[in-house]
């Protein structure tokens, strides 16, 4: 048969090298408490949390076509659950983080039923309104400080670990773990047949449904999983912030606009994009944030310039130039060399 000459691959040398390098980097990062300063660890911890948020948003927007500007709903929800479960139910913070994920998943189901009726830009606005409803609703809960917010009692933070160093290392590892877990989960999900279905839905719903893909269910699964993980990330974030208030917890700028910035600048619809984007975003912030308004103006300019020069983001640019994929998802059909021919 002539098609014996053809072969399908999903990997490349670059990807294999990247996998090895990636593993080394992760090991080095795990060891950070022994080589990095407290501030560096905190910064990296924050980067990991943003990377995780960005990867999840990318999964939704870049692959499932669910452009949400309301993920702050789950960040804030997770944060509030951490506070509520530790302060009122007396749970250990780690248990509370896990449970925040479960609750996030639960609450996302009715939300999904409602907003999945919307498409495209409507969906985006709908999610934003949902997040506002979350914000305004939590602002009515006086046990959690209402609109004023609440601080996490010191005792709860100390229950993580008594020594400050251990505590800091622990929150760093939690953040690192979250990032690695989310990126890996997204990658392996996309490589699976469900991932293929997801990409198909993004491209053309009509054709996807005619090819046996249950669009609603596939999107729902992605949405719920993102909501659960985002809620857990929210709990982690506010474990570091120590203080929560509706405006901070459900800030569209902090938890969604910056995340969109990261993903789109980095390259949406690629696993690599959020990583690149996170690096760019934090590079800008660390060098310029003290300039106040100027920093924000620069951020705006970067967003505009990148979108004009590289609408597929920085990684999109790199990929089209060098045909590079560090997390190989594409199928390539290649013809075997004649030497192998029968």
């Amino acid at each position: 048969m002539s098609n014996q000459e053809y072969q399908v691959t999903r990997s490349s040398n670059a990807a294999r090298v990247a996998a090895i390098l990636g593993a080394i980097v992760v090991v080095v990062l795990i060891a950070a408490p022994w080589w990095a300063g407290r501030a560096d660890m905190r910064l990296m911890g924050e980067m990991f949390l943003y990377l995780a948020l960005a990867s999840l948003w990318n999964l939704m927007a870049g692959y499932a076509g669910l452009v949400s500007v309301g993920q702050q709903a789950y960040v804030g929800f997770g944060g509030y659950m951490l506070f509520a479960l530790t302060m009122f139910a007396g749970l250990h913070p780690l248990t509370a983080i896990g449970l925040a994920g479960v609750l996030g998943a639960l609450i996302s189901v009715p939300v999904a039923v409602l907003i999945f009726r919307l498409r495209g830009a409507y969906f985006a606005i709908g999610t934003w309104v949902i997040a506002e409803v979350f914000r305004l609703s939590f602002a009515q809960v006086s046990a959690l400080g209402g609109g004023s917010g609440s601080s996490l009692p010191v005792g709860i933070v100390k229950s993580l670990a008594d020594a400050r160093d251990t505590r800091e290392a622990l929150s760093y590892w939690l953040a690192l773990g979250a990032a690695v877990l989310v990126v890996a989960a997204v990658y392996f999900f996309l490589r699976s047949r469900r991932g293929l279905a997801l990409t198909a839905i993004r491209d053309n719903e009509l054709a996807a449904s005619s090819l046996g893909i249950d669009i609603w269910r596939t999107k729902l699964v992605v949405y719920i999983v993102s909501a659960a993980l985002t809620s857990m990330l929210g709990a982690l974030i506010f474990l570091q912030k120590l203080r929560i208030s509706p405006d901070a917890a459900f800030s569209v700028n902090d938890w969604t606009a910056f995340v969109i910035f990261i993903v789109v600048i980095g390259g949406i619809g690629t696993v690599e994009g959020p990583i690149i984007g996170t690096l760019i975003f934090f590079a800008l912030r660390e060098t310029l944030a003290d300039l106040g308004t100027v920093y924000l103006i620069v951020l705006g300019l970067v967003a505009i310039v990148v979108m004009l020069k590289a609408p597929r983001g920085v990684w999109g640019l790199i990929r089209s130039r060098f045909d590079l994929q560090l997390f190989p998802l594409r199928y390539r059909v290649i013809r075997r060399g004649p030497s192998k021919g029968a």
């Binding site: 309104v129 305004l136 009515q140 789109v264 924000l296 300019l301 970067v302 004009l308």
Partner: protein, 287 residues
């Protein structure tokens, strides 16, 4: 009577929301552009009004003569110089560009005008009221409502009864083919944005008279504008007006029950309508 008052005041507030939303609805309808900077452009218009009134001593309403063309020109330039480059079937590049624009406008205004709250001084107009059947209605909110109705009527008419409106719709449907009809899409989009910002200019001045503003308040208004557009249904500006009024009334009625529910009630009304009619109340164009 109190309920009636709440409803009437809410409806008048809805006029302001509809005015915020009208420009947004236009560019969303024509370019499928989700303009995150819309709220900040409204604030920009208010600041332009401030500068004009401060420099010339004109009444803010007369300052419209300067602000409206200026906003139109800004809109045209913005579209041709920047936004045209980002349009395509992808929602995100324009979203991010307008996000960038929003941040730039906000912080630019902060640099120029500082964070001080400002207000346009419209003199007696601000406090004047008329009494209708025991209700006391501010002249300014009534005027705002009337302006909203007029603006929306004009936009709707332009959109569906003029060749410019036809051009808007054609270019929004299929840019390539519209070019074959002799339409320069960049110019048409420029005109659409100019028209949208003309409306924004009017909205900005009326906002600046109604309340005090500082560079950061644009974002808060944006979501109401979006909600009004969506409630109304894409491509139907009367729907946008209805959407604004529904939001306004939901807010005041919610506040009547408990002031904490004012904003929440508006959002819940929005979600309720979407649950029942995902394409809005009066969609003219399939989304």
């Amino acid at each position: 009577m109190e309920w009636l008052n709440a409803i009437v005041q809410g409806a008048l507030l809805g006029g302001l929301y509809a005015l915020f939303a009208a420009g947004l609805s236009l560019i969303f309808g024509v370019m499928r552009l989700v303009n995150i900077a819309h709220g900040d452009l409204i604030v920009l218009a208010a600041y332009l009004g401030l500068t004009v009134t401060a420099a010339t001593g004109l009444h803010p309403l007369l300052a419209l003569v300067v602000v409206v063309p200026a906003m139109g020109a800004i809109g045209y330039a913005l579209q041709r110089g920047l936004l045209n480059q980002t349009l395509g079937d992808d929602l995100l590049p324009p979203l991010l560009v307008t996000f960038g624009l929003s941040v730039i406008i906000q912080n630019g205004l902060l640099e120029v005008y500082s964070a001080d709250p400002q207000k346009l001084d419209a003199g007696a107009l601000e406090t004047a009221s008329l009494s209708v059947g025991g209700l006391s209605l501010g002249i300014l909110p009534v005027l705002t409502f009337a302006v909203a109705v007029a603006v929306i009527w004009a936009l709707q008419w332009t959109f569906y009864h003029t060749s410019l409106g036809r051009a808007f719709r054609a270019v929004s449907d299929n840019q390539d083919i519209a070019q074959l009809m002799g339409l320069n899409r960049r110019h048409v989009f420029g005109l659409a944005m100019a028209l949208a910002l003309v409306v924004t200019g009017i909205a900005g001045i009326l906002l600046g008279i109604r309340t005090s503003f500082d560079p950061s308040i644009g974002g808060g208004r944006l979501i109401f504008a979006f909600e009004a557009v969506i409630i109304g249904g894409l491509g139907n500006l009367w729907g946008t007006l209805a959407g604004g009024v529904i939001l306004g009334v939901a807010q005041t009625v919610g506040a009547k029950i408990d002031p904490g529910w004012q904003l929440l009630a508006g959002h819940l009304a929005f979600l309720f309508i979407l649950a029942v009619r995902p394409n809005g109340l009066f969609p003219r164009i399939a989304a």
